[in-house]
C-alpha cells in the first residue's frame, strides 16, 4: 500500500496534498500498489470528501485529541500507531513546513529512511527510484530506498500539479481509524495560531510587473506606466528614488532595500539598473528594459532591451498590447 498523509486545517485541504496524491498515483503504476490517503486531525471528514473523488482505494480519517492543535510529538505518536496498523510500503507526504517539522522525527522513531524534497518518481532497472535535487539544485540524484518498508518520501511543492491527480470512477470509501496516543508524551504546548499582518502589496506573487525608475522624470508621468500595467494586467513597482520621493508607496519598492520579486515578466521603465535594484528582481523570467542610456547596466541582464525614449516607446507598446 502507498499511504499518502494529507494535510488539512479545519477541513480545508492543503493543495500540496493533491500534488502528493498525483505523485502517489504515478508510483502506484510503477510499483503496482494501491493508494490510500490518511487524513489526520479534527475536521478530517470535510477534507475526506474532496479526496474521495480522486482515484484512490480508500480514505482513512484519523481523529484524535493528540492531533489538535498540531504538535510534532502528537503527530509523530498518532501516525506511528496508524502506520503500524496499516503497514504501508511507502508513506508519501507533501514537503510542507508541517511535514518538515514532524516527518524526520517520525522516520527516525521508526528507524526508516526518509527521502526528502522529491521531484519525480521513476523506475530504473526494475527498481523504484525517487528523483531529488542536490547541491542547491545543480544536480539531481535518483535515490532508491534501502532496508525494510515503510519508506518515507516527501514531495517538493509544485513538482506535480494538483490537477494531474486522476479522478476515480466512484467515490472512494471513507473509514475512521482509531489510534492510541499517550497524551502525557506530548511535550509541546502551542499557543493560539496567529496570522502575521499581511503586506498591503505582495509583489512577490505578481506574475507581471511594470517598474518605474528615475527616467520617468516627474510624478505625473507615473500615469503612463500605470496605463501599461493595466494593459498588461501587471502590478506597478519602482526603484528606490521613486518611493523616496513619495511618487509611489514604499511597499512598491523593488530591490535590496525593498521587495524581492520573481515575476514572469518584468518591464523596467527608465531604470538604470543599479546593483541594489538588480538583486531584487534577478529572479524574473523575462526582463524587458526601456532606457535612453545604451550603457545602462539594466541592459546587462535584460532579455529584451529598447534604447529609446520611454515616453514614445511605452504608448506604442500599450497600443500594440490593446490590439
Amino acid at each position: 500500500m502507498i499511504l499518502v498523509i494529507a494535510e488539512q486545517r479545519g477541513g480545508r485541504l492543503n493543495r500540496a496534498t493533491l500534488e502528493t496524491i498525483a505523485a502517489a498515483q504515478q508510483l502506484a503504476a510503477i510499483a503496482s500498489l494501491p493508494v490510500s490517503v490518511l487524513v489526520p486531525g479534527a475536521g478530517a471528514a470535510g477534507a475526506a470528501g474532496e479526496i474521495g473523488a480522486l482515484q484512490v482505494k480508500e480514505v482513512i480519517a484519523v481523529d484524535n485529541a493528540a492531533l489538535e492543535p498540531y504538535t510534532p510529538d502528537g503527530f509523530t505518536a498518532a501516525l506511528q500507531d496508524a502506520i503500524g496498523q496499516l503497514s504501508p510500503t511507502y508513506v508519501l507526504l507533501p514537503h510542507t513546513y508541517q511535514t518538515r517539522d514532524f516527518a524526520p522525527k517520525l522516520a527516525a522513531r521508526m528507524d526508516r529512511a526518509l527521502i526528502t524534497d522529491v521531484t519525480g518518481v521513476k523506475s530504473t532497472g526494475g527498481q523504484t527510484a525517487f528523483v531529488r535535487p542536490m547541491f542547491q539544485g545543480k544536480l539531481t540524484a535518483d535515490v532508491t530506498p534501502q532496508g525494510s518498508a515503510p519508506y518515507f518520501v516527501t514531495l517538493q511543492i509544485g513538482a506535480y500539479r494538483a490537477d494531474q491527480a486522476a479522478k476515480g470512477a466512484a467515490a472512494a470509501p471513507v473509514r475512521a481509524l482509531a489510534v492510541k496516543v499517550d497524551a502525557s508524551a506530548i511535550r509541546e504546548k502551542p499557543e493560539a495560531p496567529f496570522q502575521q499582518a499581511k503586506q498591503a502589496v505582495d509583489l512577490s506573487q505578481a506574475e507581471r510587473i511594470v517598474s518605474v525608475g528615475r527616467g520617468i522624470k516627474e510624478q505625473t508621468n507615473i500615469a503612463i506606466a500605470q496605463k501599461l500595467a493595466e494593459a498588461l494586467g501587471a502590478e506597478i513597482a519602482a526603484s528606490r528614488p521613486i518611493c523616496d520621493a513619495g511618487w509611489l508607496p514604499m511597499e512598491r519598492q523593488v530591490g535590496s532595500s525593498g521587495q524581492t520579486v520573481a515575476p514572469k515578466l518584468y518591464v523596467a521603465l527608465g531604470i538604470s539598473g543599479a546593483i541594489q535594484h538588480l538583486v531584487g528582481m534577478k529572479g524574473s523570467s523575462t526582463v524587458v528594459a526601456i532606457n535612453k542610456d545604451p550603457d545602462a547596466p539594466i541592459f546587462e541582464i535584460a532579455d529584451y532591451g529598447i534604447v529609446g525614449d520611454l515616453f514614445e516607446v511605452v504608448p506604442a507598446i500599450i497600443d500594440a498590447v490593446k490590439q
Binding site: Q136, R214, S239, R240, P241, D244, A245, S256, S257, G258, G273, A274, I275, Q276, L278, V279, K282, D295, P297, E300
Partner: protein, 616 residues
C-alpha cells in the same frame, strides 16, 4: 608635631578612599578575560609620545580646547615633583623645600601655573556656559568642582610667592593646597577624571590596529560577547578611562544622521553595567540590539578617541554574541544566505563574473607570467557599474605594460560577515580564499575595493597568510608618477596638464583613508590628472562614512529617506560646490549614487580609475 599627625590621618583617610575605589576597578579588570596585548612596542611608544606627551589627538580636532587641555596636562606633569616635595614635608619625612634645586624648580613652575590657569579657565567657561553637545546635555557639577580645584591649586601655589612662610595666611594657604589635592584624589576614581591616572596606560595598551578583532577560536567554543562578564579586560579598562569628551559621538556617522547609536553612551553604559555588578546581563540589553546594528564599523570613534578606547571590539564583539544566538536582523539573514549559497553578498551566480572576465579579456593569474593578481571582489564581479571603473583600471595597466591576471574563481573576502559578527562564515570564506591564493602564489594583489585591501591585507594575516595588498589608487599613483611628465619633485604639477582644472570633490573611503591611511595618493592622482579638489568637511583620515560598512549596505529598508547616513554624506559633498564626486570604493559609490538619485540631484560621480583613464 600635632599638625604632622593630623596630616597623616587626613592623608591615610583620603588615600584609602582613593585606593578602595581604584581596587574595585582593578578587580573588575582582573576578573575579565584577558585581552591585553603588547605587540609592536615601537609603535606603541611612538603613539604614547604623540598622543599622551604631545596631546596630538586631543589638539588636532579641537585646536583651542585641545591646547588648553595640553596646558593643564603639561602643568600637572610639571607639578608632580612639587606636590611630592610638599607631601614629604607634610608627612614629616623630609623637608626639601629649601634646597637650591627646589628653589629654581619652584620658579620654573610659574609659567606652567599661569598656563594651567588660562587653560582651566577656558575649559571651565566652555563647559559651564558654551556647553558643546559633545560634552553632554547637562552640566556636570563634579567637572566644575574639579576645575575649581585645579584653579585653586595654581592660585595657592602662586600665593606662596607673596605670603610669608610661618604666617597664618601662609599656613592656611599651604593647608588649602594639600587638602584640595587630597580631596581631588578621593574624587577622581569614580569620575571621568580617572583618565588622569589610567589614560596613559590605556593609550599604551590600545591595539596598533584600528578595529582589532582577534579571530574567535571555535575549538575553545568562543562565540563572541554575550553578557557583561564576557567583556575583555581592555574593554573594562576602556570603560573606566572614558573622559566623556564626546569626540567619538560627534564623529559617529550614525549619531550624525540622527540614529540612536552614540559610541560614548556605549562606553558609559559598559561602565555602569560593570559597577552595578550585572555580570549576567545580556549586552543586547545593556546597549539595546537596535543600537548595535547601527554601527557602520567606520572606526571614527576609536580613531578619534584621545584616551585609547577601542569601541569596535565591543560593538562587533556584541554582534558576534547576537549572531551566535541567531539574533541577527532579517536583512543580514538574507545576506548570509547569499554568502553561504553563492559566496557573494548579492546572491548572484558566478557565471556573471565569468562573463565579465571573458568580456574584459582577463587572463587567469599565473605567477610566472603576471606581475600582479587583480582581485575583483563582490562589486567587481557583479556590479556592472563598478565593472566600468575596473575596465578603466585594466586600460591603465595595459597602457603601462603591467602584466596582470585574475583568479579563476573568487569568493567574497568575508568582510560583511566579519563586521556583522558572523565569525564562523568569515572564517570559512577566508580559509577557502587563502587556499586559492596560496595556490596562485601572487607576490602582490591589486584591488579597487578598500574593504578587500583591509580584509585580505590585514585580517588574513591572523590566519598566517601575509601578502602585499594594494589599492588601485596607490598602485596607479606610483605607476603614473614618472609618465611623460618630468621627474622633478613637483609630482602634482604635471607639465602636460594644460587648460583649466576640473573642480571635483573627493570622498575618502573609511577603509582606505582611516583604516589604510592612504589619503595622499588619491589626491595626488586627481591633481596630476587635472582635477582641483574642493575638500568636503570630514576628509582624509577622518571621513564621514557613506553608510555601507558593517553590513549596512543592505539595511536601509527601515530608514526614512533623508535620514540615511548616505544622505547626510551626499549633502556634505554637494556643499563643496563641486559638481563631480570622485570615489574610490564601490560601496561608497553605490550608497552615494543612491542618495543622489533620492535627492534628485544632478551631481556626477566618477570612480578614480575612470577619472585617470580618461585623462591618461
Amino acid at each position: 608635631m600635632m599638625t604632622t599627625i593630623v596630616f597623616w590621618l587626613l592623608f591615610l583617610t583620603f588615600v584609602s578612599v582613593f585606593a578602595a575605589q581604584v581596587a574595585r576597578r582593578v578587580r573588575l579588570i582582573a576578573a575579565a578575560p584577558n585581552t591585553f596585548s603588547l605587540d609592536d612596542v615601537p609603535f606603541r611608544i611612538r603613539r604614547f609620545a604623540t598622543d599622551v606627551i604631545l596631546q596630538k589627538r586631543t589638539i588636532q580636532e579641537r585646536p583651542v580646547a585641545g591646547l588648553m587641555h595640553a596646558f593643564v596636562f603639561w602643568g600637572f606633569v610639571a607639578f608632580a615633583l612639587y606636590t611630592t616635595v610638599e607631601f614629604l614635608y607634610g608627612l614629616g619625612i623630609v623637608d626639601l623645600r629649601y634646597t637650591a634645586w627646589f628653589g629654581r624648580y619652584r620658579i620654573f613652575l610659574a609659567p606652567f601655573a599661569v598656563a594651567v590657569l588660562v587653560g582651566i579657565t577656558y575649559l571651565l567657561i566652555r563647559r559651564a556656559f558654551v556647553r558643546p553637545i559633545a560634552l553632554g546635555t547637562h552640566v556636570s557639577i563634579e567637572s566644575i568642582v574639579i576645575a575649581c580645584f585645579i584653579a585653586t591649586l595654581m592660585i595657592t601655589y602662586l600665593l606662596t610667592f607673596r605670603l610669608e612662610e610661618g604666617t597664618l595666611a601662609g599656613r592656611i594657604n599651604w593647608w588649602v593646597h594639600v587638602l584640595v589635592i587630597l580631596a581631588f584624589l578621593a574624587l577622581i576614581p569614580a569620575s571621568k577624571h580617572f583618565h588622569l591616572v589610567i589614560s596613559p596606560i590605556t593609550v599604551f595598551l590600545k591595539s596598533p590596529e584600528l578595529g582589532n578583532l582577534p579571530n574567535l577560536d571555535f575549538e575553545k567554543e568562543q562565540v563572541g560577547l554575550e553578557t557583561v562578564k564576557d567583556l575583555g579586560s581592555k574593554s573594562v579598562l576602556d570603560a573606566f578611562t572614558c573622559v566623556e569628551c564626546g569626540r567619538c559621538q560627534v564623529n559617529c556617522p550614525a549619531w550624525g544622521a540622527g540614529k540612536e547609536l552614540n559610541p560614548k553612551a556605549i562606553i558609559l553604559q559598559t561602565q555602569d553595567a560593570l559597577l552595578a555588578g550585572d555580570r549576567e546581563k545580556k549586552l543586547g540589553e545593556v546597549y539595546t540590539e537596535k543600537v548595535l546594528w547601527q554601527c557602520t564599523t567606520c572606526g571614527a570613534c576609536e580613531n578619534q578617541c584621545p584616551v585609547g578606547i577601542e569601541h569596535l571590539p565591543i560593538l562587533i564583539g556584541s554582534r558576534r554574541g547576537l549572531v551566535s544566538n541567531g539574533d541577527a536582523p532579517e536583512y543580514l539573514g538574507a545576506m548570509y544566505n547569499n554568502l553561504e549559497r553563492r559566496s557573494n553578498i548579492w546572491g548572484l551566480g558566478y557565471d556573471q563574473r565569468a562573463k565579465f572576465v571573458q568580456a574584459a579579456g582577463l587572463e587567469t593569474f599565473d605567477a610566472a607570467r603576471h606581475d600582479v593578481l587583480v582581485w575583483l571582489g563582490c562589486a567587481g564581479s557583479f556590479d556592472a557599474d563598478f565593472q566600468k571603473s575596473l575596465r578603466s583600471l585594466f586600460e591603465i595597466l595595459r597602457a603601462r605594460q603591467v602584466k596582470f591576471g585574475v583568479l579563476a574563481k573568487e569568493r567574497c573576502n568575508g568582510d560583511p560577515a566579519k563586521r556583522t559578527g558572523n565569525e564562523y562564515m568569515f572564517q570559512e570564506l577566508a580559509n577557502a580564499n587563502i587556499e586559492d591564493l596560496k595556490a596562485a602564489a601572487p607576490k602582490k594583489i591589486l584591488t579597487s575595493c578598500p574593504h578587500c585591501v583591509k580584509t585580505i591585507g590585514s585580517d588574513y594575516r591572523k590566519f598566517g597568510y601575509a601578502v602585499e595588498v594594494v589599492h588601485s589608487s596607490v598602485f596607479v599613483e606610483e605607476l603614473t608618477r614618472h609618465g611623460s611628465a618630468s621627474l622633478s619633485g613637483e609630482r602634482s604639477r604635471r607639465t602636460d596638464v594644460s587648460g583649466p582644472r576640473q573642480t571635483v570633490t573627493f570622498h575618502d573611503p573609511c577603509y582606505l583613508g582611516r583604516y589604510g591611511g592612504k589619503v595622499d595618493e588619491p589626491r595626488e592622482l586627481i591633481a596630476r590628472f587635472g582635477g582641483a579638489i574642493r575638500e568636503p568637511v570630514r576628509n582624509r583620515d577622518n571621513p564621514f562614512c557613506c553608510g555601507a560598512g558593517g553590513g549596512l549596505l543592505f539595511a536601509d529598508k527601515e530608514e526614512e529617506p533623508g535620514s540615511r547616513i548616505s544622505d547626510v554624506r551626499f549633502k556634505q559633498l554637494r556643499d563643496t560646490g563641486a559638481n563631480t564626486v570622485v570615489t574610490a570604493c564601490p560601496f561608497c559609490s553605490i550608497m552615494l549614487k543612491g542618495a543622489q538619485a533620492s535627492a534628485g540631484a544632478d551631481t556626477q560621480f566618477v570612480d578614480l580609475m575612470t577619472f585617470v583613464k580618461d585623462r591618461l
